[in-house]
Symmetry: none
Subunit: 396 residues, 2 copies
């Protein structure tokens, strides 16, 4: 039985200044794979569309976001281990500091996780026939769920976009959202009162005196990965979003101690977990976050070093695993932009008896000449199924 | 008037072990065409989708299988020269040997065509308001048509998928299929009795005592090729399926004596028929089967030899014909997999005044650098129409 590892390096692609981090990195294992495999360039959604990590991952894993995506909230909530029921509306939530109608700190003075956890008892409540559920994660972050009849994701976020921090409350963006907007506004007023009175906030210069919401999404179940594609799969990731996407599509999740989702993540531990998972699963989705964070911070050297760590600490084990390797990114995060971009990401496929092109290095420029050409995110799962001979034939 | 020949080499693409059959073959004419023409790689449906020959041919000939395909049965029946009426449900059929509820030989001991023909008088019958029509072809094979009101293709095949050979009968896969499943099951019981008593089966160790059905498809007419594309076309092929596809889309069919659809097919006769057809038609669809069969049998040398025969016995005449040549496959059938795969097939376009790329050989690896890039099956007919200046302009 053939098996496959899909390694998604978050924010992999970059722009040349004059080299890209991939071009500048010392990466003998990436280049060995490029030389012995076949390469190309991938638009995670379609050419030049700038994707969020949520829709990019859904698409790469075979779930068209136009069908299966309705905001990041449900994916974050699932990733934090919350249970969702169809009809629930979920949000990304964060503690913040508000003074009058101005949000003065979106992160409540980068509140520590312990205090945030202690405050979390003040958040859940019931408003009319709607239950409000909450779970905090690291620091100011968390997820919030509304559960009750007649809810909708057709509302504006309460987290201000405006750098002035002007707080507006939620508005319905269509008629269906009216009830949800009202519930959110009542919740926000109530939680402000509770948090302002909380002993845990006494003496804090930046009290966590409001919970801001964004990424509203209505939850609906999706058909499972194994039912749709006929293979068993598992996710190994640090970040909540990637676990949430995996839980949503019915992949199992292996929690790896030390897989932190940041630049200090224990890549060797992730490699060991991947090898071990291959005895139980046909397919491993392995996610590494650090390059994206470095891109967002504009830190070229940090992104380059992360790639070198992946080359040294992760790839040797994967190469010895006996599985087919598919390596790509969910989008580009150029250091010069400090943001996601719509540039293609390099794509590499390596394994026994596959066609081999003439590309000898794994980077944005070399892969332009790759034998796979220019692919789109939706092509990745068919590619993997064909590789491990698990495609369902169309026609006869 | 410009004319075009579309040569489809069934199962053309392969994987390197370490060369592909195309790379290993001595094929000066293929390579001359690559050198003087333009090349690329083609996904017969979309990237990495594994196609059956039926849907692939429809797509290459400009008929979207999502619109025009409902199972292989009607195409096989048409290919055997049976007439179909809208609403008919047709199947691929084969004589088999059944013992109790176990199919012990799917091919009834590879029954000879003469005995199979003699048995065919026992198969047609009328059940309630449904007529059952049957025609045998070579050996155990044939096609069966149900004609009557309220029929549907929404039923399971009676040919067991299970290697155990457990026979189940037909089940409706949706409400519409209920009547058809019942008719099929009554037919199967009746034909078992008739065949078991047939004198032609006396003394046979593996009696042909059941007719198994698969590939159910409901027949509907399609708009004709000449109406849709404004050119006249003809098919030259050995196999029933390819003639059936052609009949379905309204191509004329030239039966070539010696075009057997196997490795011994008379390629020179097919070449002569092609040249002759060019005086009456704008477009010739020329099909060669042998490479696919060799791939299914895992016979690398046989596939290589078939390619060498095409190079030697077919291409020289086509080159001299004065027509544009478009050469590709309907899918890959790698010898190492003994099955269709989702890998691209090489594509070659050759003719007067067309653009020329730098590719000098016709194979899976060389064509990665082709000037046509990566195309899909749906692009082939527009390519041909553009080549011979018969495109209908879009806009004005």
């Amino acid at each position: 039985m053939k098996k496959a590892i899909l390694l998604i390096i978050d924010g992999l692609g970059d722009l040349p200044t004059p080299k890209t981090p991939l071009q500048a990195a010392k990466k003998p294992h990436f280049d060995k794979l490029a030389k012995e495999g076949i390469t190309g360039l991938l638009s995670p959604i379609s050419p030049f569309v700038v994707p969020g990590s949520d829709v990019a991952h859904l698409n790469l894993l075979g779930y068209d976001p136009l069908v299966y995506y309705d905001g990041r909230g449900p994916l974050e909530a699932l990733g934090l281990g919350m249970d969702l029921k169809p009809g629930d509306v979920a949000f990304r939530a964060n503690y913040a500091t508000i003074d009058g109608e101005t949000v003065t700190d979106r992160r409540a003075g980068r509140i520590d996780t312990q205090t945030a956890s202690a405050l979390s008892k003040y958040v859940p409540m019931k408003i009319d026939d709607v239950e409000v559920l909450f779970k905090n994660s690291a620091e100011h972050r968390g997820a919030l769920i509304l559960r009750g009849p007649g809810l909708s994701s057709k509302i504006t976020p309460t987290d201000p976009h405006d750098p002035s921090g002007h707080f507006e409350g939620a508005h319905a963006t269509s008629k269906e959202g009216a009830k949800t907007a009202r519930i959110i506004n009542e919740f926000t007023s109530a939680v402000r009162i509770r948090l302002s009175q909380a002993v845990e906030n006494q003496g804090r210069q930046k009290p966590a005196n409001i919970v801001l919401l964004r990424g509203a999404g209505s939850f609906n179940t999706a058909p499972s990965f194994s039912t749709r594609f006929g293979i068993s799969g598992v996710c190994i990731a640090g970040g909540a979003l990637y676990k949430g996407v995996s839980k949503f599509i019915g992949l199992d999740i292996i929690d790896v101690p030390g897989a932190t989702g940041d630049k200090n993540t224990d890549l060797k531990a992730k490699a060991r977990a991947t090898i071990s998972a291959l005895s139980n699963y046909d397919f491993v989705f392995l996610h590494v976050k650090g390059c994206d964070s470095a891109g967002h911070d504009g830190k070229f050297d940090e992104k380059k070093k992360m790639l070198e760590r992946i080359d040294k600490e992760l790839l040797p084990s994967l190469i010895k695993s006996g599985a087919y390797l598919i390596i790509t990114g969910d989008h580009s995060t150029p250091c010069s932009r400090k943001a996601h971009s719509g540039h293609e990401v390099p794509l590499l496929v390596w394994g026994d008896s596959e066609r081999i092109d003439g590309v000898k290095k794994f980077d944005e420029i070399s892969c332009m000449a790759g034998g796979l050409g220019h692919l789109q995110g939706k092509d990745v799962l068919p590619l993997i199924l064909n590789l491990i001979e698990k495609s369902k034939k169309y026609g006869s």
